[in-house]
């Protein structure tokens, strides 16, 4: 097929060349292996890890109950947070000044105070507001409850986590919505879509690409932040192992049990996040071009 070459066959061909030797790379590898070995020996030979105790409590019913509470709290907190965050982000991007001021004040307050204080506050709400009632302003209440019967530790924890999360999610959703080309709004209008349809079909799916990665971080942060609720006597994962080691003094192995489950939970969340990210990056990667016919725009 090719015309006979005018040149003699080459002596050198870089296709077979090797990498240049590097002392730094080699040293780093050796150090990593040594440290890993040392760590493994430490974990195995130090008797104070009490691995049999870890194994005994790993699937203990009270620990699994605690894990379930932690997962449930993280899910509810995240759901409340995402809902509040989306609404507040839309409000902040609207032209309604009073609503915008209210949303900014909310974000300012809940992002600006430690979550631990917020949780303790919600737990002690009954001190400030002994009864909670529903009715018209300045009228006798239609429905009334004792705060202590309504704000159980679980409700206080879910409220605290959700409200704090909402403040962070507001900023994440807002940034995501702002990252969508404003001309996409025009294009959605141009095919006669109502604003609501345009938001859910055109703007939000594109914003998700920028919302999902930081939200994933938030979910992971939230799953770990649930450990804070142990201070308000919520029987979460951490609290459930605390109850055991307060009785048996096997602090280290029981903390390892908790660490194991937190890591499992976060690995699962991470896998979910990767899937969701792939879902919303449709149309973004050149690699999905069919049969290599792609042309750069």
């Amino acid at each position: 097929m090719h015309a006979p070459s005018a040149f003699p066959p080459p002596i050198d061909d870089v296709a077979q060349a090797r990498r240049a030797p590097s002392l730094v790379r080699w040293t780093v590898s050796v150090v990593i292996v040594l440290v890993a070995l040392q760590l493994a020996i430490f974990l195995v030979t130090n008797p104070r890890f009490e691995w049999p105790v870890v194994v005994r409590y790993l699937f203990a019913p009270s620990v699994l109950m605690g894990l379930a509470t932690t997962v449930l709290l993280a899910l509810i907190g995240m759901a409340i947070g995402t809902l509040i965050g989306t609404v507040c982000a839309l409000v902040l991007l609207s032209d309604h000044r009073p609503a915008r001021a209210a949303a900014s004040a909310y974000v300012w307050f809940f992002r600006g105070t430690p979550l631990l204080i917020q949780l303790i506050f919600w737990y002690n709400l009954a001190y400030l507001v002994p009864t909670i009632s529903i009715g018209l302003p300045f009228q006798p209440p239609l429905l009334q409850w004792q705060t202590n019967s309504l704000i159980t530790p679980f409700v206080a924890a879910a409220l605290g986590l959700g409200l704090a999360e909402g403040a962070y999610m507001t900023e994440i959703v807002r940034a995501g919505l702002m990252s969508v080309d404003p001309r996409q709004q025009d294009a959605a209008k141009a095919i006669g879509m109502t604003p609501t349809r345009a938001f859910f079909r055109i703007v939000l799916p594109q914003a998700m690409r920028f919302i999902v990665p930081p939200s994933g971080n938030q979910v992971i942060g939230m799953a770990k932040a649930t450990a804070l609720v142990s201070v308000i006597a919520m029987n979460d994962l951490l609290h459930s192992v605390q109850l055991i080691y307060n009785r048996t003094y096997e602090v280290v192995p029981l903390l390892i049990v908790a660490v194991f489950w937190y890591l499992m939970l976060i690995s699962l969340l991470y896998a979910v996040q990767s899937r969701v990210e792939r879902r919303y990056s449709r149309g973004q990667h050149a690699s999905s071009a069919p049969d290599g016919l792609a042309t750069a725009a």
Binding site: A190, G192, Y280, P290, T295, A297
Partner: protein, 276 residues
């Protein structure tokens, strides 16, 4: 040939005039339309009728208000004075006794469904394939059954020469192909009038002709078209009427060939000598 002036149009109507009745005949009708950006007057009392099957090309220097004009017709920009009618229906407002009141966003969306729009920057939805882009309006704005919309989308995409690109995302299409999808997307709504806002200005030179060929095809089918363009040659060939705008006003208009061959105003003559 009397240049520019609108003596042959019916007397101007105004948003503020309670006696106003819309003229019935033209598809699209603008009366004394005013648009301001702060103190800058982008449109200074523009009046214009576009009749069924007409292909109106709007030319003029940048900043003359030609893009603003089509964006106002599509209610993408708010209009500050005058009125725009589609088939005699006032766009963007409704009469409540003595007053005109702005329509809700939903009502405006309903009116927009009768007007197709093609943008300079294509504006395809990047998270949808070509076929999904074309189906989106019929399914999610008109509420057409999905299968019917798919059939129509496929027919339109093959009409613009993209039958083999149904499943491609916009990122994998050239600018000319994207713009042809955008035209198919607008056509899928079966609009009364198609507006083109400089559809070839963002394209590489060698891709311009494939898009213009599609526009010419629509013109041959008898579609009513308003086309803002810098392609004077195309305007001469495909348009039935040419409108020359400058500084927010219509300066001259007339049959395309005749007007472009022998402009009546000095300003159009100067403009043509610069762009040709």
């Amino acid at each position: 040939m009397p240049a520019a002036h609108l003596t042959d149009l019916p007397p101007p109507l105004d948003v503020a005039d309670p006696q106003a009745t819309a003229p019935a005949k033209p598809v699209l009708s603008l009366r004394n339309v005013v648009k301001r950006y702060g103190h800058f007057e982008a449109l200074r009392s523009v009046s214009l009728d576009v009749h069924e099957g007409e292909v109106v090309a709007i030319i003029g220097p940048s900043g003359s208000g030609k893009s603003t004009l089509v964006r106002c017709v599509h209610q993408l920009e708010s209009v500050e004075g005058g009125a725009i009618y589609l088939d005699g229906e006032l766009l963007g407002f409704e009469r409540r006794g003595q007053h005109l009141r702005a329509l809700s966003a939903t009502a405006i969306a309903r009116q927009r469904r009768q007007i197709g729009m093609v943008f300079q920057q294509f504006g395809l939805f990047p998270h949808m394939t070509a076929e999904q882009n074309v189906m989106e309006g019929p399914v999610h704005a008109l509420g057409d059954p999905e299968e019917e919309a798919r059939t129509r989308a496929r027919r339109l995409l093959s009409r613009v020469g993209l039958a083999d690109k149904l499943d491609c995302y916009p990122k994998h299409l050239s600018g000319g192909q994207q713009q042809r999808v955008a035209i198919a997307r607008a056509m899928a709504m079966q609009p009364r009038v198609m507006l083109f806002d400089e559809p070839t200005s963002a394209l590489d030179p060698e891709l311009v002709s494939e898009v213009l060929a599609v526009v010419a095809d629509l013109a041959r089918l008898g579609k009513t078209i308003v086309l803002v363009t810098h392609e004077i040659g195309f305007a001469r060939e495909a348009a039935s009427r040419v409108i020359f705008m400058e500084a927010g006003r219509i300066v001259e208009q007339g049959p395309a060939r005749q007007t472009l061959a022998s402009p009546q105003t000095e300003r159009l003559r100067t403009f043509l000598s610069r762009v040709l």
